[in-house]
């Protein structure tokens, strides 16, 4: 099969941002996650938890809470603003100042007519949700202290609000506070400190559940205003609560990283409903740090916090055993590449939210046996660190294959640079960019570096021609379907004739760049493509999807190829389908046209289309076995999937033009090492 020289890169100091809030939309099965840097990510739970969309953050925008209203997504933060997002163009649609100081939480009533926000100044503000915007309606009775948490009664007639040392119940009609529930402070030294009701839930049977900074989960009777039950679950804070849709189960996240589940069960076996009470049932420990955000879906506990990982922990009584659904998922890395690679020049571009780094790979002398580490003759060198302009974070970037162009984009602007490599590098910003290049969420260069492609609003692709210090708008490519979802993958062919563009509606469109128009659309598959590429010689389009399926589509015949049909007929190997990270790149070996190179976070794989596909009974991960066999036996035993697991936590992989591989790893331990020590994070006034 062959030897590869691998540049094993670990100097990309990518640091994911802590998870601050999340909201699950059970109708569309989308989870919105807000991170500490203000970025919002959308995961599609019905499609293998694929990270469909990322809305980049902005300096000073600290999202404290997220809220779905139908398909619309709202957030509020400590900057005192309410934001609605444009999920088609991946940017904030509008921002409204609430004029109540920092906003602690935002909550929508079940009817979807009003939003309530809780403010630092002690007010709860109601906003009416209109078609294109929201409009302030009124304040509820102003309180003396800040309001930390809110929960609507499902009827919409009442709101429970958690604040310092107490819980208030408001009547939304009159705006009056009807009850005052006093929350006991912690014992001992914390007796003198105010207790913060971090999270609250108002159930339809008028039960109120609160989680507070004294480590208690308390059950209240909302009609009488009395305490029913106290569960002390932690020494530290209970930071988050989430209730299942049928109100039979609730979970509480703590500063210790644990999640405690309570279930509404009858205390005796054969009594009526009246005797049900909240019983502490399970404890999960999936986090090392504070659990700040929780969601309880029908089948799983979804949690996130300071340790930056999103964890989906299935409830084993709700899912079928031994299925994909029953496996726990930890999503630690983004499902798109933050690394650009100039294949000809051997350069790497690392994308951080606020800057870009350009590195030249090192060199080794001579060759070595498989398994060797070669001596590094020239060390890798950081050529450039480019700070972004403005407050918006970088959402995408690209490096041309020749290494001569560099481009990045924020939600508001695109910046293109010409790089010149002499003894030291010189950077020149291209000043006049065509006005079509403005709102962009994916960028890439053609193979000969003469064109720049940018995915723009309404699923369109802007093509720009580049030459010496000048760039010219050529065309906007549009497809014929009415999907307006953003394009998240762009892949031009090596010969410069084709461009494949995939959007989050699972569509893949192929444009003819010579004629500058749509060539064909690949039949829509139910799962979102996670990586696409066009084969340099056969012009077949390879697409890999979130459910791990692989398709090969012939652009000439406009139909699936024979190999693709064979693969679908026989089915992929069970272990291949069980992998839980999506394939993030597809590449080809110019020396051997039958080879397709794929990678996900935990492996890379070379598919040899000339070899037989693995049967379900054959060993998928057979490299170790093959290594031990003599050569003739080896050819008999080998199958199309050659999987290498030497590299773990792979952020990106690409094959350079000199046929050496570049693997960018980010060991999870290195990420963990940069986290603050796992003690209670003192928030405001605790």
């Amino acid at each position: 099969m062959g030897e590869f020289k691998v540049h094993r890169v670990r100097f990309f100091d990518y640091m994911p941002s802590a998870i601050r809030a999340m909201a699950f939309n059970s109708r569309t099965e989308r989870l919105a996650v807000a991170r500490a840097d203000g970025a919002v990510e959308i995961f599609n739970f019905s499609d293998n938890y694929y990270q469909e969309k990322v809305i980049p953050g902005r300096d000073g925008r600290a999202v404290e809470a997220l809220c779905w209203v139908g398909q619309r997504l709202f957030s509020a933060g400590l900057n005192g603003e309410i934001t609605e997002y444009d999920l088609e163009n991946l940017k904030p649609q509008y921002v409204i100042e609430a004029y109540g100081g920092p906003i602690w939480t935002i909550s929508c009533n079940n009817q979807g007519t009003h939003l309530a926000v809780s403010c630092e100044d002690g007010t709860v503000k109601l906003f009416e949700i209109l078609k294109e915007k929201i409009q302030f309606q009124r304040n509820l009775d102003r309180q003396k202290s800040r309001i930390i948490s809110l929960s609507w009664h499902p009827s919409g007639a009442q709101i429970a609000a958690g604040m310092m040392d107490m819980i208030r119940i408001f009547d939304t009609e009159t705006g009056r506070a009807t009850h005052r529930l006093l929350v006991e402070r912690g014992v001992g030294a914390s007796k003198s400190r105010e207790v913060v009701v971090w999270s609250i839930a108002f159930l339809s049977n008028n039960t109120i559940v609160s989680g507070d900074s004294a480590g208690k989960v308390q059950i209240w009777d909302g009609l009488m205003g009395t305490l029913v039950r106290t569960h002390l679950v932690t020494k530290w804070d209970v930071l988050a609560l989430a209730v299942s849709q049928d109100e039979s189960s609730l979970i509480a996240g703590t500063s210790e990283g644990t999640i405690v589940q309570f279930q509404f069960l009858s205390s005796t076996v054969d009594r009526q409903d009246r005797d049900h009470e909240w019983v502490r049932t399970r404890t999960f420990k999936n986090h090392s740090h504070d659990v700040k955000a929780l969601a309880l879906t029908d089948t799983a506990v979804v949690s996130g916090g300071m340790d930056t990982q999103l964890v989906v922990h299935p409830l084993l009584d709700k899912v079928e055993k031994n299925t994909q659904e029953a496996a726990q998922r930890k999503i630690a890395f983004p499902h798109r590449s933050l690394v650009g690679c100039a294949k000809k020049a051997g350069l790497l571009l690392f994308q951080f939210p606020d800057h870009l780094e350009l590195w030249r790979l090192g060199e080794s002398d001579g060759n070595g046996k498989p398994g060797d580490s070669l001596t590094v003759k020239r060390k890798p060198e950081k050529l450039l660190q480019l700070k972004r302009k403005g407050e918006d974070h970088i959402c995408c970037s690209a490096l041309s294959p020749c290494g001569g162009w560099l481009v990045y984009s924020t939600v508001s602007s695109v910046r293109l640079y010409k790089l010149q490599h002499n003894n030291n590098i010189s950077v020149n910003k291209v000043s006049k960019l065509p006005k079509e290049l403005r709102s962009v969420h994916q960028l890439c260069f053609s193979a000969d570096s003469s064109k720049l492609f940018a995915s723009s609003s309404q699923s369109s692709v802007v093509v720009v021609a580049l030459n010496q210090l000048e760039c010219k708008y050529l065309q906007t490519l549009r497809h014929k379907s009415d999907s307006r979802q953003p394009i998240h993958l762009l892949s031009p062919s090596d010969d410069g004739k084709w461009l494949a563009a995939a959007n989050t509606d699972c569509q893949i469109h192929v444009y003819n760049l010579h004629k500058m128009k749509l060539h064909c659309s690949v039949p829509v598959y139910s799962s979102c493509p996670t990586a696409v590429a066009i084969h340099p010689t056969t012009n077949n389009l390879i697409s890999v999807h979130a459910d791990q399926q692989i398709f090969e589509f012939s652009l000439q015949q406009k139909e699936y190829t024979e190999w693709s049909r064979k693969l679908q007929k026989q089915g992929l190997h069970g272990l291949w389908l069980k992998r839980d990270t999506p394939v993030t790149s597809v590449g080809f070996n110019p020396k051997n046209p039958t080879h397709i190179i794929l990678n996900d976070t935990f492996m890379f794989c070379i598919i040899d289309q000339s070899l037989p596909l693995p049967e379900s009974s054959t060993i998928l991960y057979n490299q170790m076995t093959l290594r031990s066999l003599p050569a003739p036996e080896r050819t008999r035993q080998s199958h199309a999937f050659k999987i290498c697991k030497n590299f773990q936590h792979v952020l990106s992989m690409s094959l350079l033009d000199d046929l050496s591989l570049v693997v960018v790893e980010r060991p999870l331990l290195d990420v963990m090492a940069q986290l603050p020590p796992p003690v209670r994070q003192k928030k405001f006034a605790t």
Partner: protein, 711 residues
Amino acid sequence: MAALYEGYTLCGLVPDQNLSSSGIQGIEEERDSDHVVVTDSTRSVTLYKVSDQKLLGSWTVKQGQTLTCSAVFNSQTKEYVVVSDNKVIRIWKEEDILLDKAFKATVSSDIWMVHCRGAVRLLDSLLAAPQQPIEEVLNQEETIRWSTTIVAETQQFVIFTTEQKGDHFLYLQRLNPNTLQRYRLEREEPGVSSLSFSASYRDKHIHLLYLYPNGHVYQSVVSVQGLAVEEGAQALPLPRSLLLGLPVGDGLLEAASAMVLDEAHVAVVGVPHPSAGAGKDFLCIWNTNFQTLQAGKEMAGKIYGQLWSFSNKLFIPHGKTLSIIPFECPKSSLASALGKLRQAKTEAPASVPSWNNILHGEKAQPSRTVETRKTRTTRKTQSTPSVTIDQVLDLIKTAPVEEVQKEVEGFLSRADLQDLQPSVGQLASTLMSRSLNDPAFYSPSTLAQLVHTQCLCHSVCPDLVLLALEKKDYFLCQLCLQFFPDIPEAVTCACLKAFISVPDVDAEKVRLEPDSISFMETLISRDRGQVGVQNGFSPTSCEEDCSDDVSGHQTRTEAKEKTSAPPEQICPVGLHKAVLLNEILQTAYSDTFLLPHLKDLSSQHVVLFLQYLQFLYLKYSQDDSLQMHGCRSPSLAQVMDWVCLLLDAHFTVLVMTPEAKGLLLNLHSFVRSQVRLVSELGKIESSLQELKKMKVKKDVGQYSIEVIELF
């Protein structure tokens, strides 16, 4: 290895005048395993605390009345029950002092424990209506010989055996629901009835063990679940398997008993010890898997053939006492059956029965190592008309040495190795008895040949080694030590004593195994001039160490010797003697059993042996390639084990012996150098561990260029 420990007396006995019975009716467990109720056959019931050997209570019936069954204790109601005069049930508690004032009930029929003439009743139902009619289950002339009860999970069983005109039957009565199954026991030789029964329950089967006067111990297994329910049907024949054939000496056994201890061990009393002549007053534990005698103990006084066992203690009446002998039957494994594991280099001797063989009755694998060159050649040449084993055995009893030799050789060459094992045993034991009875008869080559087949072991012919020693046939001794897996430590020690006291001149005349001789030759010939330094260790440095401690006189002599040749470098015994001693070093043993016998050695012998061991140690530490030689040689570990054992056994004597002083100092310096080495190793341990850690994360660098290969 099972073991019998030192016993102690629980109480005295009042046996009959003619010593025919011990006077004990039965022994039953009381509230816990430490309390027993002893019922004597006349009038009294006594309660003892076993560990304290203390009498806690005693109850007696009136003169003229007799107890007709052993008293039992009901642990739930804390009541004792006994039957007197076959009819009266007496129930009392510990506080009751006088038995006559206690509760009694007379029943209408004879009582055998709780079952009467074969009918079984629960005590409660019987007491509810004492005069109820009791049916006859047994035939007219059938009498009950033995009975017991067994609790199998939730089921209770009453088992009893009966005799009717020489036929024996087993009755298995299940309670709740009541079913009765009758089995006919296979007849042994006519006129012979079983001496003892013992029943045990394991794995859903009742195992019944019975001993016949001819020494045969049979086992029958009855499934608890598959009990046929039809009553009154014809007695089923009960299949049996021969578990043990005990040596009975001359005549039949009279008062003997066998009892199951666990799945692999049987305790036998009243059967002669195979290596102690015809006396029958022995208590032995046999391993039924290996057919080996595991422990034996001579009991003083008459043996009555009675034996009880409660929680690892055997209760045995003998002479005028009731003794308690604690025992231990650890789970038998091949290793423990052979004592200490043999040297790993030598392959397991083929004469050890394989587990498969015993448990599943599979055909043994023909062993390849068995044939010696001699038997192979004879097998080719000989093709005389076949003689059966019985003919050969008869021949051995009478024929002269030469003829016996020829016939046995012929028989061995013809016989198939697979079924050789039993016949070799028979041949050997007949040869042995002939040799023992007839001092003029001794056929060393035949015996050597038999030993060479590797089908023999010590338990089959326990006298062989001692006989060989007596006849000064050291070659045979060597073979036995080499091939017998189960030589007792006492015999090993006897060999050691004999070997070490043989004058070197005599020893050199003996023909010995060439392999072992060649090893010793290379060892001795490796010249003392060649003092190699290996891994920075030179033996001279250790001598210097020891000279520091020795007095000035010692230092001078030491210095003098160093110029010529250090005495430790010269083999203290002759070549052949060394070979024999090597054989001892390589036998299997257990420290605990060997140590007492080692104490019998005289101090000169101990010093000599220690000198030899020291010589071996020095040779080995100079050149460890010696052990890789491939031929049979003691390992360094074995040498060190023996040094330790000898020192353990004789240290106090050696300290007092002037000629041992230098030796002890030398050994002390060995130990010191070892301790120093270990402490030096301990010092670098942490650095070595660091190295290990470094290896684990070998490429945590920020950047590396690697070459990988895909297949």
